[in-house]
Amino acid sequence: MDKLIEQSLKALLAREGLEPKEGDLEQFAEIIELYMGNLKTLHSVDLGAEELGPVFRPEWTAK
């Protein structure tokens, strides 16, 4: 796994008082790297000045 991602994950786990299960970081490396790559893709979209709409409401329309 990318070292920076691994260090970030370990730091985030430590902040929560958690440790990864032995072998998990190796076992899950592919999905974690794919996911982190997709996060970048998500941020590459130009949404312009579009604001966050209502986070969620059941009744929604085009307006």
Binding site: I32, L42, H43, F56, E59, A62
Partner: protein
């Protein structure tokens, strides 16, 4: 003369409710037939994790007495159903709740009971804490059922209940419905109460029915839909008469096909799926629907946006369980915790902005069409031996057919539309406007009235 030409456990809800109403079939007789079926085949399928046989027979006797006195409550009265373990049932809280208490009966369960349904028990789901045996696909037990409503898919398909409640955060009703050759409905977000549904992701979780025919989905959905003050996201939108308004007619219905999105997913989709879905859409056209190609550019980002929200909310919902899960939990649950932790606030907010954009684009498209039609799966159910412990997560992070409609909360219906060469079911997905479940139910019903796929039963 026999009550029915088919085995009682394979009656549809619609068939059984007519017989029960006319007192040609007793709920006790039907419940016993389903219990016999469970005893005969569930040792191979592993659908039930908590069979409530005694309670079911008691409820069936009470239903029989009530009906014999002329108090027939409606189509679900005396019908044996079962629920995914993620829903709380009185005395049997969801097992994935490890540090929170159950609520007794979830609202959807309570509503089914009030409609007179017989509770047969609780069904397996993916990633349970105690990892019971994985349910097997009744069409071929070497294959998976699809998840996470694994037990629901197997049980409904094989006649171990007449209908089931499933839950769908990223396809968990539609995936097992497609793989097991049954019908699954994920209603609009807010239409069915989530109260008593152990959360995976609060803003993406949907509870809905899984049955063997579209008219059955209408009966079950009628019983569980509607406002619930105990769920803060429950909608006050009026509930249609789904079963009453159902009819064999799609003349003039405009069906949109998001071809650019199908093309985006096509490299990861088995050709048989694309072929059978195209034929199903052609069938709708031959029945009078008008087919329009539509474009929804942001759909290609919707699956990953759905995953970002899913994992981040999962982490928040399961934080107190995390120490136990990371030591003892299923691989999928551990992976979701890692991915949720790695998701920052800016990522979550960007996913919500994508959600808003996608919703607006779809609202514009729904100004021109009545529903969308597209595939419901990437391929036939894979072999158990070929599926790794976290393979489902890969489906969550590349464009596919389910996540976009959790993200946007739109109603979707999974309808069987054929079989692969090795006789595994394939399904069409229909997507409706917000709170317009009726249109997709009508389209699915019309399709089933003119095809035979849903009448086929697995060899088990």
């Amino acid at each position: 003369m026999a009550i029915s030409e088919k085995p009682l456990h394979y009656l549809t809800i619609h068939e059984a409710q007519k017989l029960i109403h006319d007192r040609a079939l007793s709920p006790v007789e039907l419940t016993r037939a389903v219990l016999e079926r469970i005893n005969a085949v569930d040792g191979k399928l592993h659908a039930y994790i908590n069979l409530m046989a005694d309670g079911a027979l008691q409820e069936a006797r009470a239903a029989e007495t009530e009906i014999s006195r002329g108090n027939w409550r409606g189509p679900m009265h005396g019908i044996p159903v079962a629920v995914k373990d993620q829903l709380d049932v009185e005395g049997a809280p969801a097992r994935i709740r490890q540090h929170t208490k159950g609520v007794g009966d979830a609202t959807a369960v309570r509503k089914l009971r009030e409609a007179g349904a017989i509770m047969m028990g609780k069904l397996a789901m993916s990633s349970m804490p105690d990892e019971p045996p994985q349910p097997r696909n009744p069409w071929n037990t070497d294959h998976i059922t699809g998840g996470s409503s694994t037990g629901s898919g197997a049980a409904v398909s094989a006649g171990l209940c007449l209908g089931s409640l499933g839950e769908d955060t990223a396809g968990s009703i539609r995936n097992p419905s497609a793989f097991c050759g049954i019908v699954g409905l994920k209603g609009t977000y807010g239409r069915v109460s989530r109260y008593g549904l152990a959360p995976l992701s609060w803003s993406l979780d949907h509870c809905g029915p899984m049955t063997r025919a579209v008219e059955d989905v209408a009966h079950m959905f009628q019983a569980i839909a509607g406002y619930d003050p105990k769920d803060p996201t429950s909608s006050t939108a009026s509930v249609a008469d789904y079963a009453g308004a159902i009819r064999d007619d799609v003349k003039g219905m405009v069906v949109g096909v998001p071809q650019d999105y199908i093309d985006e997913c096509a490299p990861r989709t088995h050709p048989i799926v694309l072929d059978l879905v195209e034929k199903a859409i052609a069938e709708l056209k031959s029945l009078g629907a008008r087919i329009e190609t539509v474009t929804v550019p942001t759909l290609k980002l919707a699956t990953i946006a759905n995953a970002v929200i899913y994992y981040n909310e999962f982490w928040a919902a399961h934080k107190s369980d995390a120490p136990w899960v990371l030591k003892n939990g299923a691989a999928q649950r551990r992976a979701r915790i890692y991915l949720g932790l790695l998701t920052g606030s800016a990522d979550y907010i960007q996913a919500q902005r994508i959600r808003s954009r996608c919703r607006a684009e779809l609202a514009e498209v729904f100004g021109k069409v009545d529903c969308l039609a597209l595939p419901n799966q990437a391929g036939p159910a894979p072999l158990v031996k070929e599926v790794g412990p976290i393979d489902t997560l890969f489906k969550h992070v590349v464009p596919e057919y389910h996540g976009p409609f959790n993200l946007t909360g739109l109603p979707t219906l999974s309808v069987p539309c054929g079989f692969s060469e090795n006789k595994l079911p394939i399904a069409l997905q229909l997507v409706g406007k917000p709170f317009d479940e009726l249109t997709i139910i009508r389209a699915g019903y019309t399709y089933q009235q003119n095809t035979e796929w849903h009448k086929q039963r697995p060899p088990i």
